[in-house]
């Protein structure tokens, strides 16, 4: 198993050496790594803690925009734009005469990277405090995060002199190349290990208990809100890092990277792969995005149909995702005897009853808090 893992890392890491750097598969590979981290960050809050955020792309997007802006400003300094000026072209056509003063610090890329990581995390902390301390969760949390995502999009489009607006930011020197792929691979592995440690520690157990029944967790003396805020910040940090690397790698970002559609895509990768597993988000991101790349050209409109069916299929038939289903199947076969099997199923059924309780929507009398 260890060998296999090493082999896989070697395949990704060694791919560009064999195939050359001009391959567009290299581009995809790096992109998918970013998507996988993004899905992992969603898995942390959704799969392990039960918070469904439809605005996770906000953190991804802010991270991406800081890095892209910095790279674009630097690129314009070295390569005069088509207007012949030394600041980004989208500022020129919006009537700015020079780089605005508050953007000058972004000339320093390390500073921009620091911003790309710290600002989203801080924002997640603020949002987390005012959301979870006020006991907003469940469907409400989903809709509020959706609204936040839309606000950021509107903001980017409206203030196009500073953000590039609808066109996004493109045409800057990106880091497409072998060393950066290796760097991204290292970051991916690091995040995977962090998530692994986090979810298998005591904190992870508390998080799962919050997901399954937050009321009981509270009675046990845990500060539910604080745990939620903590994991929300960790997740935002990971998203932001993924966004920052994405901007540096792909060389083009737009307001769509901050929108609810992208967030929902991330959720569905996680769901397909298997939530509350660490392998799931990676598998899901690579599988869905990979298939999309292969099939969207061939199937055209039908690809979207397939995606829609996938949503319904995963929710109805395979709520545990690919990895979860395989794990169940394996467990069943290992256990063997019928009684054990039945016990297991009873337990599962019991879990199902208490899992994913409608939170936030009063459905029955017993829920009154």
């Amino acid at each position: 198993m260890l060998l296999l893992g090493a082999a896989v890392v070697a395949v990704i890491g060694g791919f560009p050496v064999v195939a050359g750097t001009d391959s567009y598969i290299l581009l995809l590979l790096g992109k998918f790594l970013c998507y996988a981290i993004f899905a992992l960050s969603i898995d942390l809050i959704w799969g392990f803690t039960g918070i469904l955020s439809l605005g996770q792309a906000v953190y991804f997007g802010i991270g991406a925009y800081f890095v892209a802006l910095s790279l674009k400003i630097n690129y314009a300094l070295d390569h005069p734009t088509r207007y012949g000026n030394k600041f980004p072209d989208f500022m020129e056509w919006n009537g700015l005469k020079a780089l605005p003063h508050f953007m000058e610090p972004l000339v320093s890329t390390p500073f921009a990277v620091a911003c790309a990581l710290i600002v989203p995390t801080a924002l997640a902390f603020i949002f987390g405090v005012i959301t979870f301390k006020r006991h907003i969760y469940g469907v409400y949390c989903a809709v509020i995060t959706l609204a936040e995502s839309l606000i950021l999009q509107e903001f980017i489009i409206e203030y196009q002199a500073y953000t590039g607006g609808f066109n996004g930011i493109t045409d800057y020197s990106n880091y497409l190349g072998i060393p950066f792929l290796w760097f991204m691979l290292a970051v991916t592995i690091a995040f995977f290990l962090i998530a692994r440690v986090l979810t298998h520690s005591r904190i992870g157990t508390v998080l799962k208990s919050i997901r399954d029944n937050d009321l009981r967790a509270q009675f046990m003396g845990y500060n539910v809100a604080n745990y939620r805020i903590f994991v929300f910040c960790v997740s935002a940090f990971m998203s932001a890092a993924a966004g920052a690397m994405y901007a540096a790698w792909v060389g083009i970002i737009s307001y769509l990277d901050t929108g609810p559609v992208f967030s929902v895509e991330g959720v569905i990768w996680t769901a397909v792969g298997g939530r509350a597993t660490l392998i799931g988000p990676f598998l899901g991101a690579f599988l869905v995005k990979g298939l999309e790349f292969l099939l969207s050209g061939v199937l055209a409109a039908f690809w979207q149909l397939l995606v829609g069916l996938l949503f319904i299929f995963v929710v109805l038939v395979m709520p545990d995702g690919i990895v979860g289903s395989i794990a169940h199947w394996l467990r069943r076969h290992r256990k063997g005897t019928l009684t054990q099997l039945r016990e297991e199923q009873d337990l599962l059924a019991h879990d199902r009853e208490h899992d994913w309780q409608p939170a936030g929507v009063p459905r029955s009398g017993e829920e009154s808090v």
Binding site: V8, V9, I279, L283, L287, S296
Partner: protein
């Protein structure tokens, strides 16, 4: 402890294994299929969104290009080979445009790409075409202030749409006070900047300027503002859904084309069909081509288009450009007997002429834009345009608007430019820009 660690390592390894194999294996499979399909064809990429918000218009460009390719193949193809269209769907997302462009150039090794509609999508793929030296033919009217060695623009630039339109409104319609309404992105903003410069030059007046978010469909506030501004004419560069909602609500609030006409460089027959001719009647559009243009080439073009895509299908200017640019490409390949990018860029495409539905058109030898005809149309009750004015001659494109940027030109035939361009891109990179000599 050791047990836990081993278990941990095992599962980590399994994770990485699973997702990499799942992710990369299919590509090699696909690449082999693609190679196997290679034969005696000339591959041409078609890059228009077939899904997402912009598919509303881009699907028709895709259709027009396929129609042209079909016709060319029916006449025996190019250099004795059939043209094989490689269709990709960029889903109205700029990142996917960039990704698919890269795929078309590097994996499919297409001779050229016909594609893009919005300025955003064009700007997202240009760096890729420049980096890998591909050829892009772009059919849309756009805001200008750009040229690129690798891109051939077959749509109109402002001097072919606005330079005659604005003075015509002022002098012929005798309306001086303009209220400008646009969608909130680069094309309307740049266009309005040019209109304002023209207003200053010709003695018009700008009494208001407002932008609505893309896809916005509630225009009552803007209409209220217009009514209080004393405007004599509304200059609209709204796009997509917004056009339909704006015209409908404009009429519902009691404005007629006689009191306050809407003049626009972008509303086509397609949007009029969607809003109903009664809402568009009497308003003006400036374009190079209308479905009602009276020429034998156009009659046959409209007929063939309807035969292929249904009798209710309407043609419009951007589609027409998409159609004739496909012929430009075929004739260029025929001329240089090669599909190499440099051959097409320096010899094949510049100077290429074609008898298009709108009249004779030509790619400019120097700036890679296209000589087109200017027309002003007044919408009639049948949902078509009556041409009320037509330029006496075809108009040379000016990619840099002279009254905003007097010192800028593009000239890719200049010997010094050629020398600089012949250097490797890493040394001499001036992306999506004019060579500043």
């Amino acid at each position: 402890m050791t047990m836990r660690r081993r278990k941990f390592l095992k599962s980590s390894a399994a994770t990485l294994g699973a997702w990499t194999l799942g992710g990369t294996a299919p590509y090699y499979f696909m690449r082999n299929i693609a190679k196997a399909a290679e034969g005696d064809t000339i591959k041409v990429g078609i890059l228009h969104s077939l899904s997402g918000t912009i598919a509303i218009i881009e699907t028709s460009l895709h259709n027009a290009e396929l129609l042209a390719i079909e016709e060319i193949n029916a006449k025996g193809g190019v250099l004795g080979k059939k043209i094989q269209p490689i269709v990709e769907d960029p889903q109205s997302v700029v990142q996917v445009f960039a990704e698919k462009a890269k795929k078309l150039l590097l994996e499919d090794k297409v001779a050229a790409v016909l594609g893009c509609y919005t300025s955003a999508s064009r700007q997202s793929v240009l760096p890729i075409f420049e980096q890998y030296n591909g050829v892009l033919l772009y059919p849309t009217l756009y805001e200008a202030q750009e040229c690129s060695k690798n891109c051939f623009y077959t749509g109109a630039v402002p001097n072919q749409q606005l330079d005659d339109f604005v003075p015509w409104i002022i002098n012929t319609l005798k309306r001086k006070k303009f209220y400008m309404v646009g969608s909130n992105y680069i094309y309307p903003k740049e266009t309005n900047r040019e209109v304002k410069a023209l207003l200053e030059k010709h003695g018009g007046q700008n009494v208001g300027e407002e932008y609505a978010p893309l896809g916005h469909t509630e225009f009552s506030t803007i209409i209220n503002n217009i009514s209080g501004s004393g405007a004599e004419v509304v200059f609209s560069d709204l796009v997509g859904d917004s056009i339909v909602a704006f015209y409908k609500q404009f009429k519902q609030f009691g404005f007629t084309a006689d009191d306050l006409p809407i003049c626009t460089p972008i509303t086509t027959e397609q949007e009029i069909a969607a809003m109903g001719p009664e809402n568009a009647e009497g308003h003006y559009t400036s374009f190079n081509y209308f479905q009602s243009v009276d020429s034998p080439e156009n009659k046959s073009f409209v007929e063939r288009y309807k035969a292929k895509y249904g009798k209710d299908a309407v043609t419009n200017a951007v589609m027409e450009a998409a159609y004739f640019q496909t012929y430009f490409l075929a004739h260029a390949i025929e001329k240089v007997k090669s599909t190499e990018a440099d051959a097409l860029i320096y010899e094949g495409l510049p100077g290429q002429e074609f008898q298009a539905p709108q009249g004779k058109v030509k790619i400019d030898e120097q700036n890679h834009h296209t000589w087109l005809w200017a027309r002003i149309g007044k919408a009639n009750p049948q949902g078509q345009f009556d041409v009320v004015w037509k330029s006496e001659n075809w108009i040379r494109p000016q990619p840099w608007v002279p009254y905003l940027y007097p010192d800028k030109t593009c000239n890719f035939t200049d010997q010094r430019v050629k020398e600089r361009l012949s250097k490797p891109w890493s040394v001499e990179k001036n992306r999506s820009g004019t060579i500043n000599l």
